[in-house]
Symmetry: C2
């Protein structure tokens, strides 16, 4: 297993870090001795997460309250981190305007473009430049199974995650020549607070076993039991230097490979049946 | 073959329409009887293209000078088209900040996000809403073989085209229930003025046969002789109601399918060898 501080340097930036998967990434990095900068919008949650990390792992933690959709993103992050050697970026933040594309206000989709496309581009560019100058570092762009095909109800979210997926793969090819690792990390269903909230907010109740069986017959395995954020964060660690793409679970990789051999229409329809069933 | 005006309505919007592939799409639609709104930045070129279309096909053409990266995009397009029944959107515009990701200024990448992600989202949302209200229409998001894997030298361009690819597929699944076709159209190498310019501006001369043979051994077929814009525009027509995804040439589809069965590392490396060879 990689010694993170030795290979990449003493500090990591985790974007979208106050709860759920982002907090789990920060926890895993801190457990492995990295100091962490936490970026998120909600100051109180962020302070709590930071305090917990310091207490449990004895590392330095710097919480930075920032809206990842803001055009000032880099000036805020830069002011808060310019004195640090940032050796890792884990871009986990995301914004998903759940609902039919035309029914969701346009401003929501554009906010998703800002958080899912522009922000990782900004942070990868600014922090990546500094990593290359030092000849070491690691950029992880967290993507999703939703990025692998069009996805009803989450159309602009899936698109934004596809942006990160392909950007991460491209960065792998460019940065590896300069001593910096890069990886697009494809995450399957994860039981984050956000995921649970979404399910509870869904139009219907949770799907019945008979409905799930119908979805499985349609060919989607996306409704497999979600992993925990801790499992997903731990599964990233052995993949950091194995770009261009990694999956949070072998089942998801197998499903992606199987889907890649099927007609697109079937793949998109199967995903759509699943999202329609659960989220209406 | 679909009767465009009957199935979709009398007017089409083509974004990125002054030259190259966009002009060829506009030509093909006009030839099939559609009136066209042309969106592009360069007013003089746009007027020339519009005059040519009117003369050759006897259709109405409305050129609209607009920067597709502008936050005012919709207010400009709306003011210029609110009296028209727009039955088709062909989003062909793109911006590609060619060069190593870290060497290209960040502002260029963010402009690419605006043109390749935000603008198609805005136009698909606003025009798509009106199509659904009328119960007919067609949204085509033009993507690229560069969207299918990370791509060195074009990292943020490939990412932006992946956004459009996955958004187009998702729209197909949502809009077909409401009488509107949608399609992500994956275009391979096309001999547009932009393509030729890029090749000429490349650091070296055109690759030799020996170099190309090496690239082919690496597994990339992307250096096959490019098609003409007219061929690519004509090939779209039979695919309009066959979403979620179509390819401009069966060779490209076959290559995409073959690549989907190979390890990602191999696919990204092969693409990188090709772009490095041609564009340095």
């Amino acid at each position: 297993m990689i010694d993170l501080t030795e290979r990449y340097g003493p500090w990591a930036v985790v974007a979208g870090a106050s709860t759920g998967l982002g907090a789990a990434f920060a926890e895993e990095l801190a457990r492995r001795g990295m100091n962490v900068v936490l970026l998120a919008r909600r100051a109180t949650l962020l302070e709590e997460t930071a305090a917990g990390l310091r207490e449990r792992h004895g590392v330095s933690v710097r919480p930075v309250t920032v809206d990842l959709a803001s055009p000032d993103l880099w000036s805020v992050v830069s002011a808060a981190t310019d004195d640090l050697e940032i050796g890792m970026l884990v871009y986990n933040a995301m914004y998903d305007p759940t609902g039919r594309f035309l029914e969701v206000p346009l401003a929501e989709h554009l906010k998703a473009v800002a958080v899912n496309c522009a922000a990782p581009t900004i942070l990868a560019h600014e922090l990546g430049r500094r990593m290359v100058d030092r000849g070491r570092g690691c950029v992880v762009l967290v993507s999703s199974m939703a990025a692998l095909q069009g996805i009803k109800v989450f159309a602009s979210y899936g698109a934004g995650k596809a942006y990160g997926l392909i950007l991460g793969e491209g960065l792998w090819d460019e940065l590896r020549e300069q001593g910096v690792d890069a990886l697009a990390y494809v995450v399957g269903a994860t039981a984050t607070p956000h995921y649970v909230e979404m399910q509870e907010a869904a139009s219907g109740a949770r799907p019945t076993e008979a409905q799930l069986a119908e979805v499985r017959r349609a060919g989607s395995e996306a409704v497999a039991a979600p992993r925990t954020p801790e499992q997903v964060a731990a599964a990233l660690m052995p993949l950091l230097d194995r770009g261009p793409r990694g999956y949070s679970h072998p089942d998801d990789e197998a499903r992606a490979e199987a889907d890649a051999r099927r007609p697109r229409r079937e793949v998109v329809e199967a995903m759509g049946k699943m999202t329609s069933l659960v989220w209406g």
